[in-house]
């Protein structure tokens, strides 16, 4: 690897590779004939049939307004489909209780297009948020969070609140927050949308590294050039509310 992110902290690497591996054969996410409409309107997305395998890497792409973000929200269980079945870690999402939902969300890391960092907390506190939400003690996770922040190059910005961070720094803080729980599945919505091409490529390298460490990665983007650089990745293309899948070339 000749560009950045090659100085991965050993602790982080060990921690991420030590995550619980999902049961083989069970897709992390499986969509069967899923469709979504708002109210009485037409279907925004329909006939979605795909699954996300453990330790896989894929891009989700398509023209603006084609339904990428809607599909991401469906995968996140932030939206309920109006038809079809969504299975998360082998379980039917329609019958999950709120507690089940909370438990499953802890196995999924999310990077939002608009970052969604909490402005009144510091970068450190933002990244530590998922661990805090799990009820863990600060003394128990402090070293872990600091290590990860250094890994994404924010070692000197831990005390800064998000409003004073640059776009790229916010992006990395959002990624760190998604990674801190060592997710089995990482969903990233336009994670390179706000940064220059150089940083975009470095961020993608970070996702590839994560994938190698065992995390299944879904990246929503409409940057074709970027996708071409990672030809091995599967592509899920949304267009006119339908999904077409192109398998990646062997890496």
């Amino acid at each position: 690897m000749d560009d950045g992110w090659h100085l991965f902290g050993n602790t982080v690497k060990a921690a991420l590779s030590g995550q619980p591996s999902p049961s083989p054969g069970i897709a992390l996410l499986r969509f069967e004939n899923v469709g979504l409409r708002y109210g009485m309107g037409p279907e925004v997305v329909g006939d979605l049939n795909f699954s996300i395998a453990p330790q896989s890497f894929q891009f989700l792409t398509g023209p603006s307004g084609a339904g990428k973000t809607t599909l991401m929200r469906l995968m996140l269980l932030a939206l309920r489909p109006t038809r079809g079945t969504v299975r998360v870690f082998g379980r039917d999402a329609a019958v999950l209780t709120k507690d089940d939902l909370t438990a499953l969300r802890r196995r999924i890391g999310v990077v939002f297009q608009d970052f969604r960092l909490l402005d009144h907390l510091t970068t450190y506190e933002n990244v530590a948020l998922p661990l805090r939400a799990m009820g863990r003690e600060e003394s128990g996770y402090r070293a872990e969070v600091i290590e990860l922040l250094r890994w994404v190059g924010l070692g000197d910005r831990m005390d800064a609140p998000p409003p004073v961070l640059s776009g790229g720094e916010k992006q990395r803080a959002a990624i760190a927050r998604a990674l801190i729980v060592r997710p089995e599945l990482l969903l990233a919505d336009e994670p390179t949308g706000n940064v220059d091409p150089g940083l975009a490529r470095r961020l993608l390298r970070l996702f590839v590294e994560l994938h190698r460490l065992g995390t299944a990665v879904v990246i929503a983007t409409h940057d074709l050039q970027l996708m071409d650089q990672f030809g091995f990745a599967r592509r899920l293309v949304v267009g006119d509310g339908k999904l077409t899948i192109f398998d990646g070339s062997p890496s």
């Binding site: 100085l7 450190y124 998922p130 190059g153 000197d156």
Partner: protein, 316 residues
């Protein structure tokens, strides 16, 4: 691109200071400050009500025990009776009775002076059959002692009539109880109003921080965790408000006690003292006010937690 992402300098231990209990709900907001003001005012009023009720209850208890420690023998002379010998007889019976500490008979002149405020001075009252009073100071409040005295008087001097002030004491008691019940009702109303304000504030805060609630859900926070955060947030606001209101009420009672000490024995001061005693709340009174503040703080937290939980349950 060989630019190093992690500068070796940054590898040094950062000088960052972490707030381990950083508030997930932003601390300061206009609505938050308004709630503090409402809680402060309500706590102040609730403490005043509670304090006034305590003072009246205390005053009436002291009053009643004082009134019940005295009994009065009224001697009414019939035609041909010698009132002085009747009084002497009653005094001797009362002095020998069990449980009597002292006996004081009002002389004729003293009895006439008692009537002066009503009849004016300079009248010849010798023609009027003015009853004579004997004040009997009791050692305790034992009804059987009084019954024995009453029986002794009835057999030896039927013209003497014993009044144990019970009816009078009961009326004072009823009045004081009414004041206390009224105060309790006012107190309950204030707590209800405060609870309503807290309810509005919690719903407002949940709507205002919807983004935060959503992010918390998506990073895997349970409803209970989020509700607990709201509880912590509102308990802090409640603590601030109740401290301000409670301390103001304590200062009010301390100042009132000081002023009543200064005004003691002035005509107005005596009337106020009759109703509220010396305005001295006493240490347990201040403890009661502190308990009111603690209860307000706890109530604020618990109520907002409950409302937050209900609101979160409605979210899908």
């Amino acid at each position: 691109m060989n630019e190093p992402i992690i500068d070796p300098l940054l590898a040094a231990e950062p000088a960052a200071t972490f707030e381990s209990d950083a508030q997930l709900i932003p601390r300061d907001s206009v609505a938050g400050r308004a709630l503090v003001v409402v809680i402060a005012i309500m706590t102040f009023l609730a403490c005043l009500t509670a304090g006034a009720a305590l003072l009246v209850a205390d005053g009436s208890r002291g009053w009643r025990s004082e009134v019940l420690r005295d009994a009065t023998i009224q001697v009414k002379a019939g035609p041909g009776d010698n009132i002085d010998s009747l009084v002497a007889k009653a005094v001797s019976i009362a002095s020998q009775a069990k449980g009597v500490e002292s006996v004081h008979a009002y002389s004729k002149a003293e009895s006439e002076r008692l009537l002066e405020p009503w009849l004016g001075s300079g009248l010849d009252l010798s023609q009027l059959p003015i009853p004579r009073l004997i004040v009997v100071r009791l050692r305790g409040q034992r009804p059987e002692d009084l019954a024995a005295l009453r029986a002794a008087l009835a057999s030896a001097a039927p013209q003497a009539n014993l009044d144990d002030h019970r009816i009078w004491a009961e009326r004072i008691g009823t009045m004081a109880d009414a004041v206390v019940v009224l105060a309790a009702a006012l107190f309950a109303l204030m707590i209800l109003a405060m609870g309503t304000a807290i309810g509005f504030a919690t719903r407002g805060a949940m709507a205002g921080n919807r983004e935060i609630v959503e992010v918390l859900h998506l990073v895997g926070a349970s409803d209970r965790f989020i509700a607990r955060e709201f509880q912590t947030h509102f308990r802090r606001l409640g603590l601030r408000g109740s401290m301000i209101g409670g301390l103001a009420a304590m200062a009010f009672f301390a100042a009132a006690s000081f002023l009543s000490f200064l005004w003691a024995h002035s005509p107005g001061g005596d009337e106020i003292a009759a109703m509220f005693g010396s305005f001295a709340l006493g240490p347990y009174g201040y403890v009661a006010l502190a308990l009111v503040c603690a209860a307000v703080t706890l109530l604020t937290g618990l109520l907002s937690r409950e409302i937050a939980l209900r609101h979160l349950r409605t979210l899908t």
